[in-house]
């Protein structure tokens, strides 16, 4: 251990930071999808992560599904929750201002948290890692196979989203809604369907993040708020609406937290995310990758 020395510790911090950073990035991407289409910041995003983890536990333990099927079932169940949020809550309040809608999502997040507490109780739950076997020791750095799964799942989601937005008609239509909803409607894009789709998509992404981290971190009903907050930090830091920005900012936050815990003091770990967020808001309010001009056009 001593022979591994400084380098091993450094790598270990980096690995831990990237793993948790990937989750922040996924949560941030979830914020961005909805924001792009509706300008709503959906504060229930963190709860989608929590629900993903808990649904996976339910499908795995109570229904006896294999882990991959439980993963997909959980993602589908949470996407359905996103659908309910859009269809029965947001759509009914479509005359309201963006700010009221944001407050509605806060109410919905409290509802989800309370519902999860009633359904699953207050105890944390565990899920086995996707693949068996303990951690691998490599040059003094312990690598959990599940951490690789988290990174893999995040990578796949980012690639798929990129393809979706660049290549598919629906993806392009969604981007068009983001750029200019009125013009999008004029050229025949069903804006309502796009909004609907955006909620389902971001709920599904949140759920995928939740299922992937549950084997590492456990999951319980009130985990969502903090993950949601960190993810929001990443979304703002990267520039609201910027997918690439969210990815970089998420990883940056994760790494900053991990290195702060390692080399400064673990007591200040949570402060790092907030300080970075404040610095960004002071000096570059449109985020690292956002453009000032585009930010000026947004209502929120």
């Amino acid at each position: 251990m001593e022979s591994a020395g400084f380098g091993a510790a450094w790598l270990q911090y980096a690995l831990g930071g990237i793993t948790i950073g990937a989750i922040y990035a996924l949560v941030a991407i979830g914020y961005n999808i909805i924001y792009n289409v509706t300008e709503i910041i959906n504060f229930a995003q963190g709860e989608f992560v929590m629900l993903g983890g808990l649904f996976a536990v339910f499908f795995y333990e109570a229904c006896g599904l294999p882990i991959l099927a439980a993963f997909l079932a959980a993602v589908a169940a949470v996407a359905l929750t996103g659908l309910v949020l859009e269809r029965y809550v947001i759509r009914n309040a479509r005359q309201a201002t963006v700010l009221s809608m944001i407050i509605i999502t806060i109410a919905f997040s409290i509802l989800l948290k309370g519902g999860a507490m009633l359904a699953w109780g207050k105890d944390p739950y565990r899920l086995p890692p996707f693949t068996g076997g303990g951690s691998i020791l490599w040059n003094g750095v312990a690598v959990q196979p599940q951490a690789l799964w988290v990174l893999g799942v995040s990578g796949i989601i980012v690639v798929c989203l990129t393809l979706f937005f660049r290549r598919s008609v629906y993806g392009k239509a969604m981007l068009a809604c983001a750029d200019n909803p009125a013009a999008a409607r004029l050229v025949g894009i069903p804006v309502r369907t796009m909004i609907f789709l955006s909620f389902m998509l971001s709920a599904a992404i949140g759920a995928a993040a939740g299922v992937s981290i549950t084997p590492i971190t456990l999951m319980e009903y009130d985990r969502g708020a903090l993950l949601g907050l960190k993810g929001f930090g990443a979304a703002v830091l990267g520039g609201l609406g910027q997918f690439f920005g969210a990815l970089v900012a998420g990883l940056l936050l994760g790494l900053a937290e991990s290195f702060c815990a390692g080399y400064v003091s673990s007591g200040y770990k949570d402060a790092v995310a907030l300080v970075l967020l404040l610095l960004a808001l002071f000096f570059k309010p449109e985020g690292l990758f956002g453009s000032k001009e585009a930010a000026g056009l947004k209502r929120f």
Binding site: M1, A9, Q12, G16, I216, T217, G267, D270
Partner: protein, 393 residues
Amino acid sequence: MVGGRLAQCVGRWSRIVLWVCVLALMVPAGVLAGGEPYKIGAVFSVTGGASFLGEPEKRTAEMIVEQVNAQGGINGHPVELILYDDETDATKCNLAVKKLIKRDKVPVIIGPTTSGNSLAVVGLAEDFKIPLISCAASYKIVEPVESRRWVFKVAGSDKHVVGKMYDYMKAKGISRIGIMTVSDGFGASGREELLRLAQEYGITVVADERYGPKDTDLTAQLTKIRESGAQAVVNWSVGPTAVLAVKGWRDLKMEGMPLFQSHGFGSKKYLELSGDAAEGVLLPLARVNVGPLLPDDHPQKKVIMEYKQAYEAKYQEPISSFGGHAWDSMHLALAALKAVGPDPAKIRDFLENTKNFVGQHGIFNFSPQDHNGLSKDDLEMVVVKKGDWALAQ
């Protein structure tokens, strides 16, 4: 006219006299019946954040009252338990204690469940001179003892847990440790004691790490401890982070550096959640958690096994350390009522002079300087073996 008024007057008087006679007849009748109940007030956090503590406490207290009344009460008086739920809220706890004192006029109160709530009501116990037996752990509940004349507590202090742990480390030749504590009240108090007592036991803390109660990843803290040259790791937290510490410790291959947990890890649920990773984890626990492992001649064996059998038969759930606190406070209150009757001042004096009271959490020896009555010898060092507790050698 005058005569009429006089007659009216006499009529009224005779009626009053009649009522007085009736009342006078009723009072001795009540006394003769003998069944005037002895009241015990209780405040537990049955719902809210600390409900996992308050629920077994409530169940234990109710079970004991049932048992005592089935055996004819104390000295011929049935026991009446007046129990309020403070919803883990300090304000509601304060109101509940006021209600117990002013409206229900109880001579003794057991609870509250948490340290925060207990500190919110110690002032009431002092002002109204009603003895209060708290089920929470913070030493501040009973110290400074000059301003806590009416307050007692039955949960051990962190200094006992740390003392037991450090004793064990010394016996195993461990002198350099890394500590990691959660940044809430529980962890902060543990950290304070770990740092304060280290020197006294000849132990050096070479790494002092912290994390939040909702943190999802502790590998950074553990890595830092791994690199610090410590011989052992101490983790001090309750909830999911206690399990994350175990998993992280195993994943980082730190078996060469034994992991000590606080008594906060002392729940079977945490063992289940940690699975195989918990093998070899060490922690000091109160004997109520390890009743079946105790030798038969241990003085606490009998009371613990009796409580365990009765509780598990009645509620179909395992006993917990927290229910044990309710057992201790309830039986102390009952012993006091039996010895001195429902007089708050006499109950206080009785409690303060109680010695060798065999309870679930230890053998209590109270004194005017010590309103807790426990010591580090009331704990056992326990190791996780094949997913269950075993006494550590």
